[in-house]
Symmetry: C2
Subunit: 369 residues, 2 copies
């Protein structure tokens, strides 16, 4: 078992990483929630791991008073799901001293985390991420949210978990496509922050795709360390934390334009990273050979390197709505070299259009002409 | 113009108090929200003050991009109102650097504050409270929330405003009943925290009810000072801040039991304070003469000193749901003497029943026998 500590003053917390971690009662803390615990999960993950988590909680002196299962997929990050959670918690009269355990991937974590952020103005929560994406990314840093018809993650809060329990053993049951989507975020951490991680991935991608426990633990630990350092320096995403959004401005447009759920988040980020890398060559001095490394590593992981058929105008419209737009201007996270990203606010729109056109198939309307 | 500063590290903010304050462009800050501002209000208050606030914002370099009017009353603190606010903000593409101005009473402040707390994971907001209750209480301390069918303020966040602009001139148009309801919270501040304020109120109630600007400014300033000191010591309500809930455990039960809106919050707190004072005589050693001072001052202000016709069992049921219930036990804020409140967790339920029975008319069912 390894532990990465996220240092945020009174909101600091540990990330425990290892095979079998979710069975370790001690990691949930002494009598979590004064014994009053709500577990939020989805039917698939609950079928696989809920009994084990409940057994561990029971050994820690807590019996879940409430279990709420939400459907899988981004559409579950909704007001309707939140209402179901609040109804269940209030129905069981859970007070401010209770705890929410989020058992599942990013959707469950984001939803359960936001529920914990606002239930009775905030109660603690423990993340038990069961996807690679959640273990390397969404369970670190305290970002929680639900979606709005007009944009993803538009309603949310910064709410740090009390602890994260990342059991790489749970990744054995992860669908292949979700494993690859998680690897997209690991690749992102490498290109944005750590050239050594990029080199490690280039040499070890096959081990990762074969789900070797050591390889999985390595990328989870390294990703958590990298993200924890960034978050510690910039909890509220006013500066350095924005670097973690490499590929996300394009990626969010892909997710929104294709309809939430059609593309996995990691898949959209992968195609978005290719666009960001191409834009970096044009606007941030990235060597073309390094942009080629971005594309090659994503292809090695079996990830998409082109966006969906969508007109550049539609991309630009969706990107303008992105939360990172400052004063109506879309800001881009670009690579200056491998392992070093920076935020660029003044990118010529023509360059953005070029990159989109080059990395997307023609939009249907245009193709019909 | 007077300014009380709420000291909360990076979340510190000023409360500006005075007649005409809402016209003072400088108080809104230099170019608030980079010029992108949403004003949230209700139709009555907007009819009286929106044009003046917009004129002041324009002088500060900001033009409201969005105005959202919600209905008046507790029922407006709903998911539906929140959705309207988010639709409007996203429709106008307000980004993270925009600002929400809350123009109105506690309902508008709680709703707009919570919207600001979670819109794109949190944007700044400026409170322009136009009721005495909001000026002396709800706009100080960062508590924001909406209601849930199962309880008031059950979904919310701690989100401090960037500034509070408390214009006592705006209290001239306040309905009489709301003025009195606001005075209930001033009386609460006195009995819980400051015997001098109690004595001042006993001597000056007539001036306050006549809305003399000096008298209003005095109680707003003193209340803000008292509350600011408590909040500075205990932002998240784990300890001392609970003292501000004197009368609220009973009061919330009255509000919920009577149906939100039937009793004004301050009216429910007034009747709740009488119950808390009587319970204090039985369980916290308060002198009976001091409990009589509580009742007499509330009567002087024309406030209710008895609860609605509701059985003690119903009170107890509603109080058990109250957020301040720790581990299933209802905690009470009791007076040990005038100006000194304390939290009591182990109060004999029979004493609570006695006090409710003495301070409420018989419940209809019992009366029919």
């Amino acid at each position: 078992m390894e532990t990465v500590r996220v240092v945020l003053g009174g909101r600091s917390y540990p990330i425990h990483i290892g095979a079998g971690a979710l069975d370790d009662a001690a990691l949930y803390g002494p009598q979590p929630g004064a014994g009053r615990v709500a577990v939020i999960s989805n039917p698939v993950v609950a079928g696989l791991y809920l009994a084990r988590v409940k057994a561990a909680l029971a050994r820690a002196g807590a019996e879940p008073a409430v279990e709420v299962l939400v459907e899988d997929g981004e559409q579950a990050k909704s007001w309707a799901s939140l209402e179901r959670v609040f109804d269940a918690l209030l129905g069981a009269r859970l007070g401010r001293d209770s705890v929410i355990v989020a058992l599942g991937g990013g959707v469950v974590g984001d939803l359960a985390g936001f529920a914990a952020a606002v239930y009775q103005r905030g109660i603690p929560f423990i993340q038990v991420p069961t996807t690679l994406l959640a273990q390397v990314d969404s369970s670190v840093g305290g970002k929680t949210a639900v979606n709005h018809a007009r944009g993803k993650n538009m309603i949310g809060a910064f709410h740090q978990p009390a602890a994260v329990i990342a059991d790489v053993g749970a990744l054995g049951t992860l669908p292949e496509r979700e494993l690859r989507a998680g690897i997209a975020e690991v690749i992102k951490h490498g290109f944005a922050l750590d050239a050594d991680l990029v080199a490690w991935l280039e040499a070890n991608m096959a081990r990762l795709l074969a789900r070797e426990a050591d390889a999985l633990a390595h990328v989870v630990r390294r990703s958590c360390e990298l993200k924890a350092a960034v978050v510690a320096a910039d909890e509220r995403e006013s500066g350095r934390r924005a670097l973690l959004n490499l590929g996300h401005t394009f990626g969010h447009a892909i997710e929104a334009g294709a309809g939430y759920g059609a593309w996995l988040h990691g898949e959209a980020v992968a195609a978005g990273m290719v666009m960001a890398a191409e834009l970096s060559v044009r606007a941030a001095g990235l060597a073309p050979a390094d942009a080629a490394r971005v594309r090659a590593l994503l292809e090695q992981a079996g990830l998409p390197v082109r966006g969906p058929a969508m007109a550049p105008d539609r991309y630009l419209e969706l990107m303008a709505l992105d939360k990172k737009a400052a004063r109506g201007r879309t800001r881009f996270v670009l690579l200056e070299r491998v392992g070093q990203a920076a935020v660029h606010a003044d990118v010529d729109e023509r360059l953005v259009r070029d990159v989109i056109a080059a990395a997307s198939p023609p939009a249907p309307a245009a193709a019909a002409r």
